[in-house]
Symmetry: C2
Subunit: 480 residues, 2 copies
């Protein structure tokens, strides 16, 4: 019996792929499934299969997968549903190790489709071929340099995203990329006829490229196994889940979408708590949270210090408190220590520390963050990112770089370096927010390069810190 | 006694401005306050005032506002706090009509600052000079082509944004711009020493460039007057408010930020309900909601039809239901009527209508939207925006434009036009979501140009529809 890694590696790191149903018509899936891997860096041989076509650019078409001269790890299948059983039989004969079934028209369309789906599963099981789908939108694997899902290669990173919705999931993945979050894998799981959410979870648990696993789910085929696996896996990796179909109208809609019974939302919530899953209320929140979980230390508790200008600090404090995080008052010692950094005319520091117009450099700002992080009663810090005036100068078309701006820019870079050193030094997380106007990409790049997440809103920061605190509690519970 | 329009027009549509405390040092506010209007299109004369400087590019500096040869509508003041009373006295002598006080160090720093602030108010009141601030970050006025707040000119549009936090407010305004929302005015109100939130509300009520008024507030100086005014103004314009300081830690922070007493959150909530204010839970939500309120018809009720692909429809239905919107089942007549458009093999339509892989063109999609919108029991539609494959072709570097993509692109443009005609025809709102990957800017531009809002997530769509339905209720209540 092969391990899950042995079974799924040929799908996510294939040495060769066949696209069965490949097409030269750009409006068809058979076109995308061959054009995307070609254009997005896949390194192994790609074999287009279609008896009615001759050449795709320089690649010759094969009449059947059986005609391909070399071995095939992965078959990507876009032929009409009725032809899929025959194609899978041929794949088994050829010794293909795995498949991605794009084709729709199976269990999601009703009884006849379900019968056809069961037939495909039976053929594949007997032939030892595992498959993704059907009725999915493909996969992306950074390790395999294999893109079947996106029109542009996404950012690579430590977040695996498993989605029961292909189109919507792909859209979420793309927005995540625009926000700067990188993916290790994207899996559009479709009808889960063979491989299920639990199988992907088991596989990703051992995937070294994946530090956080994000699920978009409507309903489970094997919920009990998923929960059992999750309970173990959260000891080493956080699992975030967004569940659609949580209301009456939403639940009704999952039935026609993925033939899923959404089930009671209260029961699902209880399962999440027991299994140690972090559940999110909006689909995109999953990625904001995953970004922090992928790169920041886990805090000891829920006590947050906030450093920020005016309204940003107020709103961050509100957002933290609303999520059940604590924003403790500073003690006399901390106040005294902060006063060494803050100019004499500044108001006495409180939490949130409002530095508006008082800190003279990003180095001072980083020093304040360190002083907060060093306190026993502070478990993590949310701060604004160092301000870099270079962008400001560029926007105003200031010729050359006047001395005061040059000094501020130097300070911003030093500040970003200083910031970046602190989470490791204290074993506590730092979450940052950028003021876009002044936050030049160079500073943001330094922070992100060092694993400090950078967000656009106070609420995103608070949710990220909440996720870290929640995961700390999940890990503690799992150990006990 | 001058009307509020006569008092504030010289501030927001000044024919000439003096910048008192102007500076050639790019790190100083005195630099920004002169450089921003120069670079961002202000058309009238700009007079820099600073006895220690000579020239700013080609503009000569004046020693005092009294030395300026022409008349001055607006004084922008960045001198240190202690000098402000003298400067205001000179402005009054000069006949300056309004001022924007950037300078900090007044009531927000404690008792002495409060005394100084009161002195400034007394001088201004006696001289008939109204002012914004102090301790603010300036204003932006599209009508006045006057930018004192941003490093880049924001998008112009129908949303006025009044913010008690300058830096954070400016950051929000900038993100709103990135999301495609345009502003008529931005006002960083600072300490509200003279002009208060209620004054701006009164002014904006009569501002033809403003269709929706958005507030970020921490605490009110004249809450009762604000609520009285709001109760009247919501008859003609929606007012959206985000209130910071709603939790213990947040409320504590407002005191040091803007010397505001945040007050009880429950009481504030009750005031919002009574006055007809739409309150938002996250600062950025205000702008998503404002965008729809600025351009879409007000629905008769809360009954929403959803057209969308798979998971997007499910999540939209969930988000609507969670906000108290209804997602009614379709009746037999509607189902029959939709079947005329949907291909025969598609599953029977429900609400949400899942068209995944079944609609052959954006024209068909728009036809489905029309059929839904025409029903008595549907008050508005949330739909995905027409898909334009042009971007897809461009990304894949497809040479020329193959016939199938050309047809789809033509259909997308026709579909966008068709969509755009529907809200007026039926007097009901349409809210759209884009799948970034396929949604080319051309289609989005057509929709937005016609006042159809386009969002990135199902939750944003649901909140926008909720705001429309809520405002309809507010208007009904105000009339009765």
């Amino acid at each position: 019996m092969k391990t899950i890694v042995e079974q799924l590696d040929p799908i996510f790191k294939p040495e060769s792929i066949a696209v069965i149903g490949a097409s030269k018509n750009p409006a068809k899936w058979g076109f995308r499934m061959i054009n995307r891997p070609i254009r997005c860096g896949y390194r192994g041989p790609i074999y287009p299969v279609n008896p009615r076509e001759d050449k795709f650019n320089n690649l010759p078409f094969y009449r059947s997968v059986l005609d391909i001269p070399g071995s095939v790890d992965l078959a990507v299948i876009t032929v009409p549903a009725a032809q899929v059983p025959g194609v899978i039989r041929e794949c088994v004969s050829k010794g293909v190790k795995g498949a991605v079934l794009i084709t729709a028209g199976f269990a999601e369309v009703g009884h006849d489709g379900k019968v056809l789906e069961d037939e495909v599963v039976a053929i594949a099981r007997e032939g030892g071929l595992r498959f993704v789908g059907p009725n999915g939108m493909g996969i992306w694997s950074a390790a395999g340099m294999l893109n079947l899902s996106f029109d542009q290669v996404p950012l690579s990173g430590p977040i695996a995203f498993v989605s029961q919705s292909g189109t919507f999931g792909g859209s979420l993945a793309e927005i995540a990329g625009i926000k700067g979050y990188g993916l290790s894998k994207f899996i559009s799981i479709g009808n889960q006829a063979d491989l299920t959410a639990a199988d992907y979870l088991e596989y990703l648990a051992d995937d070294n490229d994946t530090r956080v696993i994000v699920f978009y789910m409507e309903g489970f085929k094997d919920g009990a196994r998923f929960a059992d696996l999750a309970r173990e896996i959260v000891r080493k990796k956080p699992i975030i889940i967004f569940k659609a179909g949580r209301t009456g109208p939403g639940s009704r809609a999952t039935q026609s979408h993925t033939a899923s019974l959404a089930g009671s939302d209260e029961i699902f919530d209880a399962i999440c708590r027991q299994a140690g899953l972090i559940r999110t209320q909006e689909a995109l929140h999953s990625f904001d949270m995953a970004e922090a979980l992928a790169c920041q230390p886990i805090p000891r508790g829920r006590r947050v210090a906030i450093l920020g200008s005016g309204g940003q600090g107020v709103v961050t404090a509100d957002a933290c408190a609303a999520l059940g995080l604590e924003v403790p008052e500073l003690d006399g010692d901390t106040v005294k220590s902060l006063k060494e950094v803050i100019p004499p005319h500044a108001p006495p520091p409180r939490n949130p520390v409002d530095f508006a117009g008082t800190l003279r450099s990003s180095m001072e700002e980083a020093a304040v963050v360190e002083k907060l992080l060093s306190r026993d009663y502070i478990d993590g810090v949310i701060s604004n990112a160092p301000i870099n005036p270079a962008a400001f100068a560029a926007m105003f078309g200031i010729a050359g770089m006047p001395k005061p701006l040059l000094d501020m820019t130097k300070s911003a870079i030093e500040g970003a370096d200083y910031f970046s050193s602190l989470p490791t030094k204290y074993g506590k997380p730092i979450i940052t927010i950028r003021f876009r106007r002044f936050a030049h990409d160079m500073v943001i790049d330094i922070l992100r390069g060092a694993g400090i997440p950078v967000y656009d809103t106070p609420e995103e920061c608070a949710r990220a810190m909440f996720a870290l605190a929640r995961y700390a509690e999940i890990k503690r519970k799992a150990r006990s």
